[in-house]
Structures are given as C-alpha cells and as structure tokens.
C-alpha cells in the first residue's frame, strides 16, 4: 500500500518534472527567438539619411525660339492673289516683291474713268467752239452794221438820199437786231463759260481719281519686303484669300530671337529673376547640334493665377512668363531653346524629400529611426519628430527641428501606417 502510494508519487513527480522542463525550454526558446519571430511581422520601412544643406532652386524650361521682330503683311486692297513669289523660309531683301495681286478690276476702272474724262474733254471743247462761233456771229453782225452804215453814206452821195428813208429804217432795224443779239450773245457766253468752268472742275477731279487709282495699282498690286528678312509663314494658298488673316509673315532675324517661358511665381522670386539678367540658353538647331549662347531676360510678366488639379484637390498656381531675347546668327526660328537656372537657397538647414514629411492638421512631422538597445538585441523604433518647413520646392524641403541631426535616418516609406513608437523593420 505504502509502496504503491510512493510509486504514484514518483510518477507524478516525474510528470511534473517533465512539465517544468518543457515550460522552461519553451520560455528559453521564445526568449531567444521572439525577436526574430516578431521582426517578421513588423512594418517594413525604407529610410534615407538626411544631410545638411540648402535647397537648390532649379528652373529648366524649353521653349521654341521665335524671331523678335515679326511683321504680318496683310493684303492691302483685298484683291485676289495673282501669284505668291516667295516660299516659307526664303530669305528676302528689302523691296523684293513677295505677292502680286490681280489688278484687272482697277485697270478697268481707270479705263472707264479715262473714257469719262475724254467725254468731258470733248464736251468742253464743243462748248468752246460754240463760244467761238458766237463771237464770230457777233463780229459778222457788227461788220454788217458797219457795212450798212458805210453803204448808207455812199448811197446818200450817189443816189441822193434816194433810199435814204429805207436805209435809215433798215439801219434802225439792224441796230435793234444787233442790240438784242449782243444781249443774247452775252447771256449765252456767260452760260457757256459757266459750263466750261464746271466741266473743267469735273475733269480735274476725274484726273485726280485716275491718278489715285494708278497709285493704288502701283502700291497694291504686290507686297514688297519691308526689310531684309525671312519669310516665316505663307498663309495664302493659290488664289484663296482669307479675310482677317495676313498673307505673309516676315521676320527680321538680324534683330535676334525670343523665347517665352512660363515660370511659377514662387520659383521666379526664389531664383531672383530680374529684367536685363543675362543667362545661358542652349539651342538645339535643326541639325540637332547643341550650342550655348547668351540670352537676356527682356520682360517678366505679372503673375497670373493658373488653376489646376493636384493630388490634394484643386489648387491655384501663380505663374509668370519670362521673355528671353537671344541674339545669334544662323538661326531660322522654331529651334528649341533650353534654359537651366540654378540658385542655392539662402536657407540653410536639413534637406528632406517631401515624401518623408507627413502632415497632421497644422503641424508637419517625420518619422525618424531610433536604434533602441533592447535586452534581446537592438530594436528599431519609429519616432515622430515635429519640424518646421523653412522652404520647399515640389520635391525637397529645407526643414528645421531641434531633434534632427545630419545623418539621422528618416523613414521615407513604410509598408503600414506608422505611429510614434512603432517598432519597424529596416529594409
């Protein structure tokens, strides 16, 4: 009985001993491997070391070069185009005809006018003739009268006043007739002279009209190059004529070229761009050769608000336009000009990619990696650090924080959303 009790006792003791050993071994196992086990479940992060520095504002923009001086040549009289004498890209010298126009209508008008003129002329001439005949009539009458007078005296002598009475009557008659004639003739003459005067005025006007038409033909029958330059654009095609559009565009390459570049207003002020500033422009010409030339900012437009969409919703960007003048030979316009401007910001601080910066209401923060010396090996913990953004461009920011130092590891990305104090697994 006693031994049996002892035996069960021993059996139980053995069981408890095994249980105890299993318990301790389990705990040892977990002690040694819990860290490894756990690190498999931790959020994976990608980090980057932060460095001290300043922001470099960069502007890299491309724009097409356009001639600085460009004149649009309009169809002067809206006549039909007869012939386009130049091609796009052709070099022309001053005075060279560029487009000729069909002036048939004008010529016809001149001919009409000329005809009318000659008609006027003829009429004036006939009037003059009429006037002259009138004078002659009068003269012959006077002669007749004088003759009649003479005749009277001779007859008195010769025929002793035989027909004196009759002659006297006749003379009186003639005299009366002549008086009326003279009166009539005077009125007629006045009328004819008035007519002549009017017609002469008409004639003058007509002549002036013809002159003007001739001038117009001379001026409008073709466009001449106003200066030495290049034809950059020909709008007319065949005989078609588009109202409101220039026929040709001619550019003066000797004045140089310009390019217009849009720039964010904030970037423009960071770069401290000013009118008259010199800068380098890289030009890729038509044969794909790159060369660098001096350019000058000639104009900076006022900021215009440009609204657009971003990841975080609608946003407005203030934009300015730079006009850069480039004076260089052997260009044709239409080349790509590239400007690259860099300026180191005056704000010195820690440089961080914006990707690492998080925002919660007003405050900005990042997660920094802290190596905590744990009892069972080192652990990496994410620590939330508040910071102030001194300056930022689209991708990088200069920040300030009392808790950040150059060389600190900052979390860029993590596989799961992090919180302050989270353990993390470095990639």
């Amino acid at each position: 009985m006693k031994s049996q009790e002892e035996e069960t006792n021993l059996g139980r003791q053995r069981f408890v001993r095994i249980l105890f050993i299993v318990f301790i071994l389990t705990l040892i196992l977990f002690t040694l491997f819990s860290n490894t086990l756990q690190s498999l479940t931790l959020p994976k992060v990608r980090t980057d070391r932060i460095a001290e520095g300043a922001l470099t504002h960069k502007l890299e923009a491309q724009a097409m070069l356009e001639p600085l001086v460009e004149v649009e040549l309009m169809n002067p009289s809206e006549w039909e185009v007869q012939e386009v004498l130049v091609e796009e890209g052709q070099r022309v010298s001053k005075g060279q005809p560029l487009v000729s126009y069909n002036d048939d209508a004008a010529q016809r008008e001149i001919q009409d006018q000329m005809k009318e003129t000659s008609e006027f002329d003829l009429r004036v001439r006939s009037l003059q003739r009429e006037h002259e005949t009138g004078e002659l009539n009068l003269k012959s009458m006077q002669e007749q009268f004088i003759q009649a007078n003479h005749e009277g005296e001779d007859e008195q002598i010769r025929r002793v006043a035989r027909e004196m009475e009759t002659q006297k009557l006749r003379l009186r008659e003639i005299q009366e007739q002549m008086e009326t004639s003279i009166q009539e003739e005077g009125q007629r003459k006045e009328r004819i002279q008035r007519d002549i005067q009017t017609h002469t005025l008409d004639l003058d006007m007509q002549e002036r009209k013809i002159e003007a038409l001739n001038e117009k033909i001379a001026h409008s029958s073709e466009i001449k190059a106003p200066f030495d330059g290049h034809i950059t654009r020909v709008y007319v095609q065949g005989n078609t004529y588009a109202s409101g559009q220039p026929d040709l565009v001619i550019a003066d390459y000797s004045e140089g070229f310009k390019m217009e570049v849009p720039v964010d207003a904030a970037l423009a002020s960071s770069l401290e761009l000013a009118q008259g500033q010199q800068l380098q422009v890289e030009i890729i010409d038509k044969v794909q050769q790159v060369r660098s030339v001096e350019g000058e900012i000639t104009h900076i437009s006022k900021a215009a608000i440009l609204s657009g969409e971003s990841d975080s919703g609608p946003m407005a960007v203030q934009q300015k336009h730079l006009t850069i003048k480039v004076k260089v030979d052997e260009l044709e316009g239409g080349e790509q000009g590239t400007i690259k401007l860099e300026k180191r910001s005056r704000h010195q601080g820690l440089v961080l990619p914006n990707q690492a910066i998080h925002q919660a209401s007003e405050s900005r923060f990042i997660y920094k990696v802290i190596e905590a010396r744990g009892p069972l090996g080192n652990r990496f913990v994410a620590q939330k650090v508040q910071l102030k953004i001194l300056e930022t461009d689209g991708e990088i920011s200069v920040v300030h924080s009392d808790l950040l130092y150059p060389g600190d590891q900052v979390i860029m990305e993590s596989s799961e959303p992090l919180q302050d104090g989270n353990r993390i697994r470095l990639q």
Binding site: N9, R12, Q13, V16, R17, L19, F20, F23, L27, F30, T31, S34, N35, L37, Q38, G374, P375, L376
Partner: protein, 290 residues
C-alpha cells in the same frame, strides 16, 4: 453510530469541496481568461476599471468559464511581441535562484551551528536573528538601502540577492527542523570519528530534506512575489522582475494580465506539485517529533 460517522464524513467532504472551489476559482478564471480573445475580454470586463465606483454596483461582470472562442493571442503578445515580459521572467529567475541556493546553504550551516553546537551567546544570537525576521520589511528598508548605497550595490541585482541570501527566515525554519534531530545522532557520528562537516553532510542534511523542500518552496513564493525590493533598489526597468510587470499592466491590457498571471504562477504551481510530498512529509515529521 457508523451512519453518524459517514454523515460527518460526507459533510466534511462537501465542506472541503466547497472550500477547494473557493480557493481554486480565481485560478480557473485566470486560466480561462488567458485563453480568451482580447475583444471578448474587453466586452466581458467592460465595467472593470471604468473608474466609476458607483456604477460598479449596478453593472455586473459577464463571467464565463468557457470562452466563446479560444485564442492564444495573449500568449503570442507576451512571448513574441513583448520581449519585456520574457526579460523580466528571466530577471526573476536569476534573482530567485541564487537567493534560494544561497539562503539554503547559509541557513543550513547557520542553523546547524545554532542548534547543535554548544557555545556562549548561542541563544542571544538566535534571538537577534529572530528579531530581524519579526520586523517587517518596511522597518529595515532604510538601513538596507543605506548599506546597499554604501556598498555600491544600488541598481544591481546583488542589492536584492545578498539580503535574501542572509535572511533570517531560513535559519529559523531549519533550526526548528534540526532541533528535532536527537543529539545522539551527532554523538554517534563523533564516536565514529566524523568531523562537524561530515556529520552535517552525511547525517543532518539527509534528515532535514523535507525541511529543505519546505524552505525552497516558501522562499520561492516569497521572493518570486517580491515587489518593494526591486522597486526600491532597481531603477533600471530592464532589471526588474516579473512581479513588477504584473503590477504595471494597464487596464486596457486585461487579457494580457491574465496570460501573464498564468505564466507567472506556473513555476510556483509546478514547484509545489513537485515538492508537495516533501513538504507534507516535512510538516508531518516536525509534527510527529514535536
């Protein structure tokens, strides 16, 4: 007459069963809850620790002895996700084991001297031992702290181990055991030419084995549960034992507290089960001989 005896026996069994249930009930609840999912625990014990003492009277804890869903979540949290728990477990082990070994050795030798050797001042020395044992820990706290400070032991486990090794309890307990051993054994040994060391090792130690078991269990319970000493002597949270961890578990981690409690009491329960017969034997021995 026999009916009365059997009735009495039944009643006693019933009483004992009831008592056993009362004692075991918290243990059972702890084990069951340690296997319950975190959400369920939060749901069941929503009114616990809500801070409103008035509400405690109207709300009841939804006590379940079988969880809706068995989950090892709490254990995984403790053993995998918080190395702190395991660290503190080993801290406890490395504090308690040296104390037990040290005190057993020191106390057995000291109690041999105080019970079996005849020398002047034996009783007064024992009285002084007893006095230090009778004084609560809080009374000796300040002198202990000052001494540890002077010896440069602060913030080190030895500040806890050394006072434990030289504590008076073991001396008292083992002396009581040794007092039961008749002096004749020692004289017999002496007659056979054995020295004190041989007598101690060959005669006394085997005879007070139950005493050792009792001492080991009692010391283990005592030091496994200590809270004040580590709190005062150890600043470094990484050095503190498991008992502190349990006392610091937050309200929100009720489930973890259950799992931690199970793991915390496991060594104690196993040790008790293992040494139970020795303990009973020891108690019996001292009873019979006394």
């Amino acid at each position: 007459m026999s009916l009365l005896i059997s009735m009495k026996k039944y009643l006693l069994t019933l009483l004992m069963a009831g008592l056993g249930l009362v004692i075991l009930f918290p243990l059972i609840v702890t084990v069951v809850n340690s296997l319950t999912s975190r959400q369920e625990i939060a749901l069941n014990y929503a009114s616990v620790g809500s801070g409103s003492s008035g509400a405690a009277f109207t709300e009841f804890v939804n006590l379940k002895l079988i969880p809706d869903q068995v989950s090892y979540e709490q254990y995984i949290t403790l053993l995998v996700e918080s190395p702190r728990f395991l660290l503190m477990f080993w801290n406890s082990v490395f504090m308690v084991v040296p104390i037990i070994i040290g005190q057993t050795v020191v106390a057995s030798l000291a109690s041999y001297a105080l019970s079996k050797l005849q020398f002047r001042g034996r009783e007064p020395i024992f009285l002084v031992y007893l006095l230090t044992m009778l004084m609560p820990f809080q009374v000796t706290l300040v002198p202990n702290y000052l001494i540890a400070d002077k010896m440069g032991l602060l913030n080190h486990v030895s500040a806890i181990i050394w006072p434990g090794v030289f504590a008076a309890f073991g001396v008292f307990l083992l002396r009581q055991f040794m007092m039961q051993i008749p002096y004749a054994y020692i004289e017999a040994g002496k007659l056979d030419g054995a020295g004190h060391l041989l007598i101690f090792l060959k005669i006394i130690v085997p005879m007070i084995k139950p005493g050792f078991s009792a001492l080991v269990i009692l010391l283990f319970v005592d030091y496994w549960n200590m809270i004040e000493q580590p709190l005062i002597f150890l600043d470094d949270p990484f050095m503190q034992p498991l008992s502190i961890y349990l006392s610091r578990i937050n309200e929100g981690e009720l489930g973890i507290a259950f799992a931690a409690s199970v793991l915390y009491m496991a060594p104690m329960v196993l040790l008790f089960l293992y040494a139970e017969s020795y303990l009973v034997q020891g108690v019996q021995l001292s009873g019979i001989k006394g």
